[in-house]
Symmetry: C2
Subunit: 381 residues, 2 copies
């Protein structure tokens, strides 16, 4: 557990970051984000550079002015989404040329351009432009790619001119320990104010992913934030925190909310099913979100069936609050030095008595290590 200072406020880790892809966390107002305990919001460079364009965001004073969320932001580099959303990508040492998914226009994204856009967007934490190989990928491809990612990191750091943004490097290497080690060996010397664990949650199994997380977090400095990119199911937060992850982001809580699912300690509640339709209980008796304080499951299930706008809004709000509260509970357990007991009890209930091997192994790795020491970090780059 640590404090982490940014120009827009201090955040406490471990933390979960809601995703505001296009400059809005889908359906949720900034006031609500503050009320449910959001600390830092993620913005997507790829989406925002294409629409509305980073200059318009800059004309608002950056993402806080544009989106009206007054706290810290983090932007990704655009690299991952170019790979997953751009069409007809051509990757070279220079960067990536792709066709916009919006209008088919040809767009180039390079380390320099990514930093230029991220400087215009004005987030507190910005990410180095990296190449994230798909899963599965050949070892040689992953090797070439991680080496290039390090050269791109160097170009990002050279180009970067804003002193008030912290640039995080991204460690790649897929699920291979030796390649992770190679990426760490090449990346750590840059001593960026934080490090991300990239290239995971791209299709591999949890049994393959978690050993790679464990391998990487164990070798990252403990006095700098460790950010596991694109990960954020409830069980991932608990296992990831056990392994020393400080920052998470994922579209899962809002996306699954739009699909009619509510997160609870007992697993995911399907509000599309018939079970909640006459249930006068809230989603979660222990939850303090607006939906749980005001609505029954029956009412929310009615909204889902009736395809009312309030349904995705309220389920997204609840799900975000659930993840924030989960991390708050983990932090409290860390402070009380009871994290291991808490995490096992949480897992027993969530998985109905049968902890998956990867989850149990993550907790075992945690209890074998010492409890994370609170540290204080500044994002000033």
């Amino acid at each position: 557990m640590a404090k982490f200072t940014t120009p827009h406020g201090t955040v406490t880790t471990p933390m979960f970051m809601p995703v505001g892809t296009q400059g809005t966390v889908k359906g949720i107002s900034p006031q609500e984000l503050l009320e449910i305990g959001s600390q830092m919001i993620l913005g997507n460079t790829y989406h925002l550079m294409l629409r509305p364009g980073e200059q318009l965001v800059a004309a608002h004073g950056g993402l806080p002015g544009f989106t009206a969320y007054p706290g810290p932001f983090l932007t990704d580099s655009g690299g991952f989404q170019v790979m997953s959303l751009g069409h007809m990508r051509k990757i070279s040492e220079q960067g990536v040329v792709f066709k916009s998914h919006l209008d088919g226009s040809l767009v180039e994204l390079t380390p320099e351009r990514s930093i230029e856009v991220q400087q215009a967007l004005g987030a507190d934490v910005i990410m180095a432009f990296d190449e994230c190989p798909p899963f599965p990928a050949e070892r040689e491809y992953i090797t070439r790619s991680l080496e290039r990612t390090v050269r791109w990191l160097e170009r990002c750091m050279t180009f970067k001119s804003r002193e008030d943004q912290a640039l995080f490097a991204i460690v790649q290497g897929g699920i291979h320990p030796d390649l992770r080690q190679q990426s760490l060996d090449l990346t750590l010397p840059f001593a960026t104010p934080g490090f991300a664990i990239g290239g995971l949650a791209v299709g591999e199994s949890k049994e393959e992913m978690y050993p790679a997380v464990e391998f990487t977090t164990a070798r990252l400095p403990t006095d700098k934030p460790r950010y596991l990119m694109g990960v954020g199911h409830p069980e991932d937060l608990v296992a990831g925190i056990a392994l020393g992850v400080d920052m998470f982001d994922c579209v899962y809580p809002t996306r699954t909310g739009r699909f009619g699912y509510a997160l609870t300690d007992d697993g995911r509640l399907n509000m599309n099913s018939s079970a909640p339709r006459r249930d006068l209980r809230p989603i979660d008796e222990d939850c303090d979100c607006y939906a749980c304080r005001h609505y029954t499951r029956a009412y929310l299930a009615h909204l889902v069936r009736a395809e009312e706008l309030l349904a995705p809004r309220m389920l997204s709000l609840h799900n975000l609050r659930y993840l924030h509260r989960l991390v708050e509970r983990a932090r409290a357990a860390i402070s009380a030095q009871t994290f291991d007991v808490w995490a096992r009890e949480w897992g027993q209930r969530y998985f109905r008595g049968e902890l998956p091997q990867w989850f149990a192994a993550s907790l075992d790795a945690s209890s074998a290590r010492q409890t994370p020491v609170p540290t204080s970090i500044s994002s000033r780059g």
Copy 2:
């Protein structure tokens, strides 16, 4: 201007009622409704009886418990929506048999059943089950229909057992003064605690509608609320208030918001157009809604283009606040005995200097009459 007391609070007329068709004002939370000055919310008997069923609403203690809006509600009788949404309607003296638009099942709605459902929904104001003829309709049909509506009113009043709900009668007669007079002559003796003007805004022109409004409001008691059903564009509120209307409802502010339009004193702003995309002003400098206090037109136009959930939410919120504020301004002008001047100035700006004939005529009729006297009314039936 008047106060109007209900079991869930006192409301001040004239007022605009947001429409919560399926037990939710689309996209807006009850907390927001209270913040923007909503006083009474309309629920639709037709929709709620079909889904989720009035018994589930009753199990929540009625609409306030179900929807978490703690203030007064009004429910319509279901009659109008059976006509517009039900399939294969068969209208008889007994009532209406129709096929549900949801599952095609045969449903009967009678005066007694309408009151039974409305008693279960538990609104503070409930409406008599009426027949609303389409436009255009034959004089004989309108005559037969308004006579039947009076017989149905009598059956509603006989069946009604809850003392805490106020039943409003509905005056019909289309756009024909003599038929309006006939409906008034038959309806007024029932001395219900409020009267609605029905059968308008069903396809006739404003030039046809407003004389019928004027004719009716001039003959309704001034010490009871006069409710113009289903009407609520900004210009309708100003003209209707001039003619003595106390209550309005309309889906317009939320529907046009979902379509990307924002209401202002200068007319409707199209947020889908290119004009607002680089405009750093709020929708309305004078508006105190969340959207106007936090967002530029450029940001909101971005949300509309990106089809983000926050777009319909924020535009609906602004539009509802615009109508509530418009009515507040009208009330302030009535109190200051400057309504006529205020309404003409508002119209000059809104219509860009050219008042439509029906609007000018409504204001002329207003200034020829005396200013409405504040009254106090109880909804207890």
